[in-house]
């Protein structure tokens, strides 16, 4: 739970939204804007993965399932003219959230590494299905997303400008952060934290832990699906790569680098991932080796992630929503 008051939270939100508007208007370079858009979309992805770690203490190796599936659901709905694009977006996000809840009711019961392996298995099933269904998804070649000429009343000429895409992605990220910060400061947040820290004691204070934990999994799936929709909007294309476990792994690395002690930690991790990759430029072919090294350094010297480190340096109060720091309590 954040220690920020609601009014400060609102002020920060307005500032962040203004910042996005300013950047989208002032930055002229399409390359820079598209880099920022990409970083922002992955920030939303990482936010989803981080949410699961933060509120449930669980590590998913399969969240690309929700990222890629969101794109595929929209792409298939538009290609088959099954529904309007606006509905397709809604169906993708809500449908995957619901799917996440049902799957969650089963898999959150499974502890530790076994849970990670289950997420990996489910994710890879989706990857193989998309790769092999040539008729529907174009198989390994992927499929394009045939967006209509207007979306939510905005013409595609305006919508698909780099500046607009950046502004949309940023606004979505900021509003998701606000929504989660507000939503998790209430009972739901406290109940999930209790179940995360010490599930047995949680039951002994009268908490049925399964549903809240499945709800967190669903929420994290939904947030990741939003990132998938944004990616489909940004690139107009979706391929099985978007479902591959290695993408889940990248998102997880962003989460670890950014940290989950504060809500925006994973988003920071994503920003660092993309910006550092761009700064390195020509050396980017060694990118994974470099980022891997950075990952090790962070894990050793700042196990709370860079956001946790920043928070400590700035002397802010630690929040109650730590992710994986482990508890002093007895698990049986």
């Amino acid at each position: 739970m954040s220690s920020l008051s609601v009014s400060r939270l609102m002020m920060l939100t307005v500032l962040a939204l203004a910042l996005g508007l300013g950047v989208s208007m002032l930055v002229g370079s399409g390359t820079v804007l598209s880099l920022l858009t990409q970083a922002t979309i992955y920030a939303v992805f990482a936010l989803g993965v981080g949410l699961l770690l933060r509120q449930n203490g669980m590590v998913s190796f399969g969240h690309a399932l929700y990222f890629g599936s969101a794109g595929y659901i929209v792409a298939i709905a538009l290609q088959t003219h099954a529904m309007a694009a606006e509905w397709a977006i809604l169906v993708a996000v809500l449908g995957l959230t619901l799917f996440g809840f049902v799957i969650g009711l089963v898999i959150v019961r499974v502890p530790g590494v076994a849970f990670g392996m289950l997420t990996l298995a489910v994710g890879q099933m989706a990857y193989l299905t998309a790769s092999r269904s040539r008729g529907l998804t174009g198989g390994a070649d992927g499929m394009s997303v045939e967006w209509p000429n207007t979306l939510f009343g905005v013409s595609s000429n305006l919508l698909f400008k780099p500046a607009s895409l950046m502004l949309i992605s940023w606004t979505v990220l900021v509003l998701l952060l606000l929504g989660l910060a507000l939503g998790l400061r209430g009972r739901f947040g406290a109940i999930t934290e209790a179940a995360r820290d010490n599930e047995e004691r949680a039951r002994f204070i009268g908490i049925q832990t399964l549903v809240p934990r499945a709800a967190v999994y669903a929420l994290s799936a939904g947030v990741t699906a939003v990132a998938g929709v944004l990616a489909a909007l940004n690139t107009g294309f979706v391929s099985p790569e978007a479902l591959h476990w290695s993408l889940s792994g990248v998102a997880l690395m962003m989460v670890v680098v950014g940290g989950t002690r504060v809500l925006w930690g994973p988003a920071l991790g994503a920003a660092i991932y993309f910006l550092a990759k761009d700064v390195l430029g020509d050396h980017a072919q060694h990118w994974m080796a470099i980022f891997g090294t950075a990952l090790i350094v962070v894990i050793v010297f700042a196990p709370e992630g860079l956001s946790g480190l920043l928070n400590r340096l700035l002397g802010l109060k630690p929040s109650g929503g730590a992710g994986h720091a482990g508890s002093a309590s007895a698990h049986h």
């Binding site: 109940i191 209790a194 010490n198 002994f204 204070i205 009268g206 109650g320 508890s327 309590s329 007895a330």
Partner: protein, 238 residues
């Protein structure tokens, strides 16, 4: 008379091992019953049987006249049964007050904030409300464990070695504190404790276990004088 808590012929067997073998105990309203016995006598297993943490092989647990043997942990807690843990069991990454308040809220308390503040003050934890549980000292975590069990006005409190790991002085302090708290909050207590001075000092009645069976029960003075108890348990300590 109806007891707030009653076990009838409760048994828990693990394969051939009879951890509990026909245990019948009662608890009257406002009573503090101490459970003693050597290691492995089945004291903690009784608590697990009553709270629903372990399924019964045989027998019946009644809470306020209602048979709760088939109910789960959560439903028993909702009927007023609360417990603390021998190995400290708190919510490590949550602030102290937040977790106590949550425990109170889950019991349907009208004002969980005030209830939490009350209990925290009574256990001298009120200045630590914003601290993260994992950052507390051992004695403070023990008291937090108790606070989580005490909020929400439980009718029956099961304390599994609440003094474990505390110094003699800390133990006696906490024992007096607990007795006062139980009286003030009208809660009946089943106390499992190793420390003989504590058990005989604050219990109204004492039950002695050996090898999963009750070998004696009664007033502290009677139990202390019972030759079988002296042989089984006190003999080695005296």
């Amino acid at each position: 008379m109806t007891y707030v808590l009653q076990t009838d012929d409760v048994a828990i067997h693990y394969g051939g091992v009879k951890a509990l073998d026909g245990v019948s105990i009662t608890l009257e309203k406002g009573q503090i019953r101490g459970l003693i016995g050597p290691n492995g006598a089945g004291k903690s297993t009784v608590i697990d049987a009553i709270t629903g943490r372990r399924p019964l092989t045989r027998g019946r647990v009644t809470l306020g006249g209602e048979d709760v043997s088939a109910l789960g942990v959560v439903q028993r807690r909702q009927r007023g049964l609360s417990r603390s843990f021998q190995r400290t069991s708190v919510f490590g990454q949550m602030p102290v007050r937040k977790q106590v308040e949550l425990a109170s809220y889950k019991m349907g308390t009208a004002d969980p904030g005030a209830d939490a503040d009350d209990v925290l003050r009574e256990l001298s934890l009120d200045t630590l409300g914003d601290a993260i549980a994992a950052d507390l000292g051992y004695g403070e975590q023990r008291r937090l464990d108790l606070a989580i069990a005490l909020v929400g006005s439980p009718t029956v409190l099961l304390l599994d070695e609440p003094m474990a790991g505390l110094s003699v002085k800390e133990s006696l302090d906490l024992a007096q504190h607990l007795k006062a708290l139980a009286l003030r909050r009208h809660v009946s207590v089943l106390l499992v404790e190793h420390d003989m001075d504590v058990v005989f000092g604050i219990s109204d009645v004492v039950t002695v276990f050996e090898l999963g069976r009750v070998i004696a029960q009664g007033l502290p003075a009677e139990v202390r004088a019972d030759p079988r108890v002296r042989e089984a348990y006190l003999g080695s300590a005296a």
